[in-house]
Amino acid sequence: MSQSKSASILDSRILIPAVGGAFTKLNPRTLAKNPVMFVVAVVSVLTTILFLRDLASGNGNLGFSFQINLWLWFTVLFANFAEAVAEGRGKAQADSLRKTRTETQAKLLTGNDRTAYKMVPGTSLKVNDVVIVEAGDIIPSDGEVIEGVASVNEAAITGESAPVIRESGGDRSAVTGGTQVLSDWIRVRITAAAGSTFIDRMIALVEGAERQKTPNEIALNILLAGMTLIFVLATATIPSFASYAGGSIPIIVLVALFVTLIPTTIGALLSAIGIAGMDRLVRFNVLAMSGRAVEAAGDVDTLLLDKTGTITLGNRQATEFKPVRGVTAQELADAAQLASLADETPEGRSVVVLAKEKYAIRARDMASLQATFIPFTAQTRMSGVDIDGSQIRKGAVDAVLAYVGSGPLQVSGNTAIAVSPENETVRELRGIAEEIAKAGGTPLAVARDGKLLGVIQLKDIVKGGIRERFAELRRMGIRTVMITGDNPMTAAAIAAEAGVDDFLAQATPEMKLALIREEQAKGKLVAMCGDGTNDAPALAQSDVGVAMNTGTVAAREAGNMVDLDSDPTKLIEIVEIGKQLLMTRGALTTFSIANDIAKYFAIIPAMFLAFYPQLGVLNIMGLATPQSAILSAIIFNALIIIALIPLSLKGVKYRAIGAGALLSRNLLVYGLGGIIVPFIGIKAIDMVITAIGLA
């Protein structure tokens, strides 16, 4: 994993271009996408015109209205700046991606022979063209390996320098344009035309160029637009109420009240929050194909997780030696270790490790022992070693029993051969094996010279800390379902050990799909990850489908996220990032609306003081003058945008403490805080601008 790409929020490489971006985003067409800020820009233009008119005629309080105008424009610019900073972080990443998209030459095959090719520019390739890529070549475009096997450096997209294997058939057949073949050769069928390759999509995504408003963002924008309209009514009716009371209110003051009341804080930061959410995923090396998928991740109710690699370590490991009566564990361990010395499978190595750790049996050199290794075959289903005239075998229980002459299948003609005299031992061994199977393990029987010694217990090792993760998910309200090809008994044992809520044993792709449909019919949102082509339908059906980058093209197309690290446990982080995104939006909206109370207390007494001096008692903050009060409110309103940019980029931290506790915590911080903070902030600004004589 390479999560070290994170740029600091205060990185000047991002901040300086963002200042320029804040101005280019003043383009009305860009502004129009954000209703609240568009309204602010429109009234800013209006008041600027009024200011220029007054400047020409020399009327009015020019110093005051100049400052209000200035801060109105700052409000718009700060909002643009926030968005530009958020985009800037993605841009930095896009630039490094773009470097990999350099012009490549492709070897387009012209015949069946792999030497018959012509050189063409990579951009001229069409879908279904077949190219040959040899050691040292850059893969010209996305494709599928149809022949050959090669090691490929995919650092360009994953940041991981260790090469990966790509081969035809199976689940590791997808190759990405821009990555480099290090050894051997592969024949690749192109699956993406120039401009629509994976890297192109990545660049567009991290740059935010393809960013579309997500459903929740649209709904929130409606709320903000509605609130803006409500405050249009509240402020536009004031002049006639005031004229009834025999007073008049300058337009600049009404505008100041209006702009401070409408939800500018969240309006300014909304798109930055969305971009930052995508960006957080990118930092996790996960690419979301749409913002909708990120939102859906926050809503996930059911998580389908593959057992192998996600819940358990990839391979079974020896955890115990269980001898039959009359044999010591030491003897069994010794025999098992000898039988496994030359066994290069992970299971074999784990036997050696266990023997060493538990019984201090050191590794011995096969050659010096003059031992012959008997490899595993599908026929014998055993492996072992012949040493000093003695034969040691380990393997599936049935196979070993057959080997020692006690198996059930020793049938010749019509007569079953009498069960061996070791009847008692056989029964005992079978008992041990059954127990192991029941506990979710796999038994391997060991025999020396036709004599049964005992059983090695192989077990799936549940990943450290995974149980706690599942408990955390449960507190989030998410149900976890383990998917495994194991039989139900083994599956149940592992499920219990790992602490998942449910499991699907002997799962087929069809069963997986059916399970997703069933959950969805109950109104639940389902997330899963997968890599194989047979996972594609389930990935497409699920609400959040994370395809592994190592997976097939079909799987990548079907999912709505791609995990570049191919680490299935990341689903949990993806869910958290989705929740964080939604929480940040809610927190800043609440904060923004709660701010209005203090702003009223600042502006209303100031606005009406001329004709109702009694309203001065509402000036509970004790602001110096009506002008300083109005100015302080609008300055606070602009500065709070800048102050909250880091929060909107980092996001509000998600805690799995249950919805009720989480909500009361956030309501306290952002609701109550949103009421109190502006009282303090406006008072402080008032003191400063009064001290330096701005108002």
């Binding site: 709904a219 509240a234 006639s240 909206t589 009406f608 009694q614």
Partner: protein
């Protein structure tokens, strides 16, 4: 304030809360089509009516046809009532020989009663014939209340149905509301009121000779029956001009207590109906708790302000609370409580003159109405009103638990948001915009009774009351002018139908959504946290809009009063 006063308030709350469950259970059974005590008598009547109307309870409607039926029914009701008023001089049952009602006043009155507002620009005993009162106004008192219940039931079904398309049948819901809920309770209440001394007669007005030898006409009529539905249906239109301050319309403290209870009874019970239908009564109690927090706070302020009285009077040696405009038989407590109840629910009946309250005592009724009368609220209307605020509240806060917003398993998305905001927006639109025009229109300003901020409050109160479908008035203002009759009529229609249509649209959208099962990650909406959140949302989203207007009206009036000046 006295302990005795608070005890009376406590008794009211206690009895009301005891009514919630049984009434809620009964209403739930009625609208679910289950058997009730009255079924043996009423089922044949109900079947007959459906046969006559050519509908059946099995014919369920999509929200658009539900809304269309409702609008057509109300349009027809408006036209019939308008006709009755315009031609009442030629129609029977007019012993007092009342003249035909003018066109603007007829428009105002017809929309007023259809919209469950009962703003009265007329004096009942000096304008309306018995036929107009009973066939016109009383009929609308029943059906406008039933309309409110039908909408609320439609909206409740949207939450309680796991997924579907239809909201129910408007005609069936309407019929059941009148037949099973309003009529039987009104029959009982009428008898009780008669027993307490309220007149119920078709005889002519009585001529009396006073002790001084002067002639006095004593207005009578079928008062008790009108009174029963006026309160129970949160209509509020008085038989007499003095409304429930009139001794014939509210003889004593017992009738007063019964009237207050009947204003709140159905509205409060609807929260329980909701809880029952969605399968968790706590959901209903949570909503009622939010309503009650706002209610008790309002009562406390009004009672405190009225009991404290006017410092200027105190300086003149007149100690005690503010008794101006109050009936001695009710006193400060029962007048304050009544004022809060009638404005919290969209009733609008009064037993004291709100315009004579102290500035702060008058502020609370205005705020109650500006919040959209969601504090218990009108029959059915209070419930669908508060659902609009719930949608806004769960949308903003729901995000803070890290899920897209949902309420009772139904996702709140762009469409619901749009409709809820439309409903929330139409109130300030009608209240503030009309008030803003009226305050600069010399002919409209001429109608006010008092100068200064109090006069402003009179105008603000009128449009607030109309748009909120309340119907009470802030004395002083002469409302029976073409300008006010027409604009108030429009405000009433906006406040009624621009909330009803979005509410039904939301119901239509939600009923089609699959219910997402609740989990540990779902924001619980049946606890104290939700109650607090809802109260905060109502105050901030509903209230902030009106801060400038309130500052220029009651708030400044209060501050000026402390400084020693009244209007």
């Amino acid at each position: 304030m006295t302990l005795n006063g608070w005890l009376q308030i406590l008794v009211f709350c206690g009895v009301l809360i005891m009514l919630v469950k049984p009434l809620g259970a009964y209403i739930t059974r009625v609208f679910s089509g289950e058997r009730t005590l009255l079924s043996p008598v009423l089922v044949p009547v109900e079947r007959g009516l459906y046969a006559l109307a050519g509908t059946s309870e099995r014919e369920e409607q999509h929200w658009t046809s539900y809304a269309f039926s409702l609008l057509m029914f109300n349009l027809l009701g408006t036209l019939v009532l308008y006709g009755l008023l315009r031609f009442q001089d030629m129609l029977p049952m007019n012993p007092a020989g009342m003249a035909a009602v003018g066109p603007e006043l007829s428009f105002n009155t017809a929309t007023s009663f259809v919209a469950n507002t009962n703003w009265q620009s007329y004096g009942g005993e000096s304008t309306m014939s018995y036929l107009s009162q009973m066939m016109g106004l009383a009929v609308q008192n029943f059906v406008s209340a039933a309309t409110g219940m039908a909408i609320a039931i439609g909206l409740i079904r949207a939450f309680s149905r796991a997924s579907g398309k239809a909201l129910g049948n408007f005609w069936v819901d309407m019929t059941r509301a009148v037949l099973y809920v309003l009529l039987p309770i009104c029959v009982v209440l009428t008898l009780v009121y008669v027993w307490l001394g309220v007149p119920q007669t078709f005889g002519p007005y009585v001529e009396a000779t006073t002790l001084e030898g002067a002639k006095q006409t004593i207005a009578l009529g079928p008062v008790a029956s009108q009174l029963a539905i006026k309160m129970l249906g949160t209509n509020g239109g008085g038989f007499f001009n003095a409304n429930s301050a009139h001794p014939f319309e509210n003889p004593d403290n017992i009738s007063n207590m019964i009237q207050m209870l009947s204003i709140f009874a159905i509205g409060a019970a609807f929260t329980n109906v909701f809880g029952r239908m969605v399968g968790n009564q706590r959901q209903g109690w949570a909503i009622l708790s939010a309503m009650f927090i706002l209610f008790i706070a309002g009562v406390a302020v009004v009672y405190w302000a009225e009991a404290a009285g006017n410092p200027i009077m105190h300086q003149l040696g007149l100690a005690g609370g503010n008794m101006e405009g109050k009936e001695v038989r009710f006193g400060v407590v029962m007048s304050s409580l009544f004022a809060v109840i009638t404005t919290a629910a969209s009733c609008g009946a009064v037993n004291a003159m709100h315009g004579s309250f102290t500035a702060l005592g008058g502020l609370i009724p205005i705020i109650n109405m500006q919040l959209g009368e969601v504090i218990v609220g009108g029959v059915g209307a209070g419930f669908y009103g508060i659902v609009m605020f719930i949608i806004v509240a769960v949308f903003v806060a729901g995000l803070m638990v890290g899920r897209t917003p949902e309420y009772l398993g139904k996702k709140i998305e762009a469409k619901e948001m749009k409709m809820a905001l439309l409903a929330v927006l139409c109130l300030p639109l009608a209240m503030l915009v009309f008030a803003a025009i009226a305050t600069v229109l010399p002919s409209a300003v001429a109608s006010i009774g008092t100068a200064g901020p109090h006069g402003f409050s009179e105008i603000l109160y009128a449009y607030t009351s109309a748009a909120a479908n309340n119907g009470s008035a802030f004395g002083g203002l002469t409302g029976n002018t073409p300008w006010y009759n027409v604009t108030l009529g429009i405000a009433m229609l906006m406040g009624r139908f621009l909330v009803i249509i979005p509410a039904l649209a939301i119901a239509g959208s939600l009923v089609a959504k699959k219910t997402v099962p609740a989990s540990a990650g779902t924001f619980p909406t049946d606890g104290g946290l939700f109650v607090g959140l809802l109260v905060g949302t109502i105050l901030i989203v509903g209230g902030l809009t009106f801060m400038p207007a309130l500052a220029l009206g009651p708030v400044v009036e209060h501050l000026v009063m402390i400084a020693g000046q009244t209007f």
